[in-house]
Subunit: 195 residues, 4 copies
């Protein structure tokens, strides 16, 4: 019962933050949607901002964890698998993607959380690039650029197709395939370029 109400509040908030945005959503809206009393909200959350940060942190943490658990494999294959994995995770967590795009990565409320998330993501991607020896001869900074740019491309596509166009998981394949094709990740292409 106790857990029940808290879960209801979180579900209601998630829905409203996504459709209406954080600032437009009143605590009274959340509790009404959750079917609990106004005071009940403050039994489980210190403040509206607290709930917002809790939700965001939990969702992003889940996303990051999933991605960190992915094993790194051989080059060409790995790139495709990694990208489609990230796309799938974002497709499944499109709500949080939507919320962040609605509220701002660097918003006063979420700044630190999304910064940590992006750093975590960047490190995962960079270490995969290093392990796969995808870009031999790159400086640390260049590897960081490569990592952030990959995050940027996947994120933007995920947002466009899964949130804006509201497409389903069947789009993962075509997007991942195209991204891999665009990226010069075959031994041939890169080998020649770096020679």
């Amino acid at each position: 019962m106790a857990e029940d109400k808290q879960a209801k509040i979180i579900a209601a908030a998630l829905k409203l933050f996504e459709t209406e945005g954080y600032h437009t959503t009143k605590v009274s809206d959340i509790v009404q949607e959750a079917g609990v009393a106004q005071g009940t909200f403050y039994l489980y959350f210190k403040s509206k901002e607290d709930l917002f940060r809790d939700i965001t942190e939990a969702c992003l943490g889940e996303v990051a964890e999933t991605l960190e658990k992915e094993g790194t494999e051989e080059c060409g294959e790995q790139m495709y698998r990694t990208i489609s994995n990230v796309l799938r995770v974002f497709a499944l967590n499109r709500s949080i993607l939507h919320i962040i795009y609605k509220h701002g990565f660097a918003s006063n409320e979420l700044k630190d959380i999304t910064e940590r998330f992006h750093l975590r993501l960047m490190k995962v991607v960079k270490s995969q690039l290093v392990q796969a020896n995808a870009y031999p001869g790159y400086t640390e900074e260049q590897l960081e650029i490569a990592a952030y740019s990959k995050i940027g491309m996947v994120e933007k596509c995920a947002y466009q197709w899964f949130v804006v166009k509201n497409c389903g998981m069947e789009y993962i394949e075509i997007i991942a395939h195209t991204l891999v094709d665009i990226l010069d990740c075959t031994a041939a292409g890169r080998g020649e370029a770096s020679m």
Copy 2:
């Protein structure tokens, strides 16, 4: 004199929206920073949101216009020039980049504006890809994916280096160089891949 006050208000708002964010910035803060009276604000702007949208639209319009004016040139070269051009434009307009990252691309206040902006950008990039015949055999949708992913990577890098790390224009070169290297844009690389 009249123009003067309006300009002062815009400058003050731009500064505060960037450092404090839209919701945290009060109209009273803006007029104080601008050195005008509270009522003066409403001589030039219908509302706080109106000013915010005006500013955002004007800045993004400038960015888009600059990019649309770029001529499309030969392949390998063109990719580098386009990317560094976009990076330079973002470096020069880091304020609006910051504001949007702070406030959210899909925020209730800016949603339509940023959507139009991204569409405009996407079309420019796509038409460049088509003209350069960079990805022969791609469907319209794949070209869109290619375009959005390039926007995503450049945007994320621009945000990371010019806003978060607050780097100067000297970083344009290294970022553009790395992005070109990552993207499989040489005739050789793509030729083999599409064969």
Copy 3:
């Protein structure tokens, strides 16, 4: 066990009302301090105000009763004994003195209680003055003035030394001695004055 919980609540409330004040002290603070559940509070007290009034009335009743039991004796001696008795009672009950000074004699919650207490005190003092024939020729009103003023001086001193300065019972002597000296209570002094 039952009595136990009630006593614990009263003790906790007494402590918190004294240190934090009535309005600042929440029912949740009281039950936490007492180590009982929130609901238990309402098994023993109708409301927070009810408890507050109960405590105050009981403490002040005890003080008044003690003073009423004092026998009246011969003049000079009696004055000293009465004053030192009152001082001792206040020193022992400094908590309630503190609470009332913190909350207000005429507060909405205590007004009637303190008024009754002061009336009771005044009557005791007045009757002592009458019995001792301390102020022959005084009208009823003058006797009342004499009584209230004595209450006022003892009360203020008790508050200053026992609550504000937190002095111990050893101060009773010096204060009582000084007060007696100030008051013109010797037969000689008064006799001459009234002649």
Copy 4:
């Protein structure tokens, strides 16, 4: 006009704090009584507590200042004049006396203010006692006791007659006369007593 609204708010608050008490009086009550809008309140006062403290400090400051300005004169006469002066000041400022008795000298909101006030008063009284050489041979502490006890008696009588019984200024004479009579301030009385 500006001063006007602030004055209206202060007047309304003074009235309501006196009749209803600080905690019972809502900001909405004050602005309604003052005939201004809710927001106007915060144009002039940081918070409800701020207004309360402002009012109290101003009133008590006025009382203290008036008393400090009194010149010290010859013994017997001086005692009567001082006492009747204090009584008159309290009679004229019965509102603040009422408010403090209602809210508590040591309340969280006023503690520091009333403490400063009492200290100021005590010093005035003590220095008068010293100048008049009223109590030769008294230690500093005994002089303090004498001072506080006089404050206590006058204050209590002022409260009883001017606030509780709501008597007029014509009572100053009878009270002052009685208090002087009670206090052993004639050279004769004290001389004999201390011999």
